[in-house]
Point group: C2
Chain length 336, copies 2
Amino acid sequence: MTSDRIFLDHGSGGRLSNELIAETMLPAFNNEILSQMEDGASLDVAGCRLAFSTDSYVVDPIFFPGGNIGDLAVHGTVNDVAMCGANPLFLSAGMIIEAGFAREDLRRIVESMAEAAENAGVQIVTGDTKVVAPGVADKIFINTAGIGLIPEGVHISASRARPGDQIIVSGPIAEHGMAVLIQREGLDFQSPLKTDSAPLNRLVNRMLAAYSDIHVLRDPTRGGVGTALNEIASQAGVGIRIREEYLPIKKSVAAVCELLGFDPLYVANEGRLIAFVDNTHAESVVSAMRQEPLGKEAEIIGEVVAEHSGKVVMETAIGGERIIDMLTGEQLPRIC
Amino acid sequence: MTSDRIFLDHGSGGRLSNELIAETMLPAFNNEILSQMEDGASLDVAGCRLAFSTDSYVVDPIFFPGGNIGDLAVHGTVNDVAMCGANPLFLSAGMIIEAGFAREDLRRIVESMAEAAENAGVQIVTGDTKVVAPGVADKIFINTAGIGLIPEGVHISASRARPGDQIIVSGPIAEHGMAVLIQREGLDFQSPLKTDSAPLNRLVNRMLAAYSDIHVLRDPTRGGVGTALNEIASQAGVGIRIREEYLPIKKSVAAVCELLGFDPLYVANEGRLIAFVDNTHAESVVSAMRQEPLGKEAEIIGEVVAEHSGKVVMETAIGGERIIDMLTGEQLPRIC
């Protein structure tokens, strides 16, 4: 059933987002690169293997514990480029600002972008600033696009997931989404949550140095780990089994998720990645990840199987099995 | 005097836009490439000379005579990449959609983007779709970023304007801005104006084939020809003299500008370019331009002089002289 209107759910990053893109964008733009539906495009330009990706950021509130829309916009695109196995080099920044916005807030956001870019080793080299009347946009929206260089011998693609691949998560999940939600709703908890927003390119470098033939990289942002695993299962035509007890999650985050009724598998992350590595090399990749601050809690959470193609099954902590579907509604609009 | 708030004028493309960028963005992002303030960045990536540019489109109304926000978003970024002397190859597309937007309108816009991309010879290879609640954005905003390849021997930069350079405009000015304004205000004129929105990359190729050492290319969008010339004069530290009688403008457009009180020198164009070429080669570049549909009304409108550095002076049709300043207010918000 398709409605004749766009709903919030179409921006969830879950099932309806995928349907909208598959129905409207892919047939019109009609090219193989876009149709691969990776986090970024892998391009050949005059013999250079480039990665190219973009994201618009509409997060609300624009300042939240551990970050703001500015560093989020840098990390998000750096990470999408890194998920192609590339070294991110250059970013663009396009801002849409609501008239009346405080210059001081803009300055803080721009400074956070600059700091995040420096920290990630990328340069913001081109940009655009639009200002619209009050009420036409909400405070500030930022788009970033990024270019990176893919090293020789690196071929990352969701389509390369193979039965036997071990599935690695780089650290505890669901922190970004819950931190933003708590700030937005003005909730007050004893142990304040912070976003996990961070640049993953150094972690990816370390992983590729340990073993260059990693099959899949994906950062589970909107839609969370559950949706990202479904996308990969579907794109590769394989089944995925994960074990709930292996899923890294901080107690404080799990408690808040339970209290507010969120499944952490569908909550957005902005500084975590999922990697698929063949079973001979997965342990050595995990060891390498644990040398990096952003990978020190990396865990193998499951594996690719030949059965139940396109489906993700979780062995629950109490010994049962549960199908993990793609996110079907919009839990948390404007989370990034 | 700087206020503590962002105003519509900061998005005009004129003086306040330049001040905001110079005060807030350049010091924070602090790199030589951005500080050149060209239409796009020229980058060296593993020996490839790339051009990279971005723009966000917030035009109101989203459908206007001769185009819509979709093809405008493709042409605008294709042109910014072409203004680096590059062949545009790949675009990203980031959409921010207001919940409740009609799917049919989205389909029309996406199809226009696809058609414009095919017509310009570029591929839309990566994208992002956000949906926000009603009232958080106005209908749809689109960001595009673009990558192109700069041929060997081509070095385009505003800083290369030299006394003696002839200044070429590729066709009649002020059409896009007036077409959008008339549609927005629901005005009704006998001879309907259409946007000039078009991809300029083939015209640039033709120009560079005629003479590869073109000094400056700029597409006079927000802020119009008057602002673009001021930016170039200021960046190169040269003076500019133009002659009003040489400025190509359609009678219908001139009449509407006069009636509504707009100076065509400050009205946005989306399918016109300005080129600076040394006086030995300017005529042959103009001849080459006239072979292309988008350049058949190309004219030399003036020249670079050693006097009045940073200033643009126009000899008026009645024989006087007038200083053409940078656009100082916002004439037409949301024109692109």
